[in-house]
């Protein structure tokens, strides 16, 4: 392997350990927040923290930040599709059952 190739190489183990520690810290945070019994805001807080964790995993462990732009757009479209399905379903649920 050439010198140049090793520079473009994957994220090193040290960065992975930092990301892992962040993920554990966020897990501790979400458990603590849940114990505060914030009721209405608890769901939003836990989904927000879960999404932050998922973003860390996708960006670093799945190294999306080093992938070509086409892959990022594809992921965006997949998530957009899921969001639309959720919104359309909830528009039905809220209008007909509330």
């Amino acid at each position: 392997m050439t010198e140049k190739e090793s520079q473009v190489q994957a994220i090193g183990p040290k960065a992975y350990i930092v990301v892992w520690l962040c993920l554990l810290a966020l897990t501790a945070t979400t458990v603590t927040v849940a114990r505060l019994h914030l009721t209405a805001y608890a769901v939003i807080a836990s989904i927000f923290i879960a999404t932050a964790k998922a973003a860390l995993v996708v960006t670093f462990f799945m190294h999306l930040r080093r992938e070509p732009w086409i892959l990022k757009i594809m992921l965006f479209l997949a998530l957009l599709a899921l969001t639309l399905i959720v919104l359309l379903t909830f528009s039905d649920v809220w209008i007909r059952y509330k």
């Binding site: 994957a10 892992w20 998922a54 462990f61 594809m74």
Partner: protein, 206 residues
């Protein structure tokens, strides 16, 4: 990298294609689990109070431990790829073995958890469950289906990583050809992300 021989270029094209194929498969998985999360959201919207009551039956300590276990396994998985790319095969095999071991520990915890529920008479279609309120029945049905399907994904992952471990040992996965390991890693991290959402939605809503 671009100035390398034609074979390298061809290899790189295949590499990109293989990885893109894996991502497309993961998008189908996003919709697969996404639809289950949607089902969960709709029923939780309808039976909010009962979902909260039912969630108290779940063991937060075991759930948190399993979260930490999967996150740690993901860290080992990601590291194993970096190590293969550096030619450190022994260490990479160690990291893959650690990932497999943590996956198995996760499943053992899941087995203990399910065992406790089943000993309380709570399992699909059980008399004790059917006597409960509608919201609770739906909560536990979703709990069994979603954690069960997730557990199945973990089990499949354990088998696939065992395969990549053997490939690495035989150098079929090596510093120039590691896309099998990388795609396995992508799958494993996806399974981790599913759990990242399952954990707060089932364990932390009490």
């Amino acid at each position: 990298m671009n100035e390398s021989a034609e074979t390298t270029v061809r290899h790189r094209i295949d590499y990109t294609g293989a990885k893109m194929g894996m991502w497309i498969f993961l998008f189908t998985e996003v919709l697969f689990f996404g639809s289950l999360f949607l089902l969960y959201s709709v029923f939780r919207d309808k039976y909010t109070a009962e979902f909260h009551k039912a969630a108290t039956e779940l063991d937060i300590v075991l759930g948190t431990a399993n979260t930490a276990i999967l996150l740690t396994s993901s860290m080992f998985m990601a590291t194993s790829i970096t190590l293969v790319r550096k030619g450190k095969y022994g260490l990479s095999i160690f990291c893959q073995a650690a990932t497999i071991l943590l996956g198995i520990v996760f499943l053992i915890n899941k087995y203990i958890e399910w065992g406790v529920h089943i000993s309380h008479g709570i399992y699909p279609n059980s008399p004790a469950l059917l006597e409960m309120s509608r919201g609770k029945i739906i909560f536990f049905s979703l709990y069994y289906v979603m954690t069960g399907l997730h557990g199945l994904h973990v089990l499949i992952g354990v088998f696939v990583i065992s395969g990549t471990l053997l490939f690495t040992a035989r150098r079929k996965i090596n510093e120039t050809d590691f896309v099998k390991l990388e795609n396995t890693g992508l799958y494993w991290h996806f399974v981790d992300i599913v759990w990242i959402y399952l954990f707060p939605l089932f364990y932390l809503i009490t």
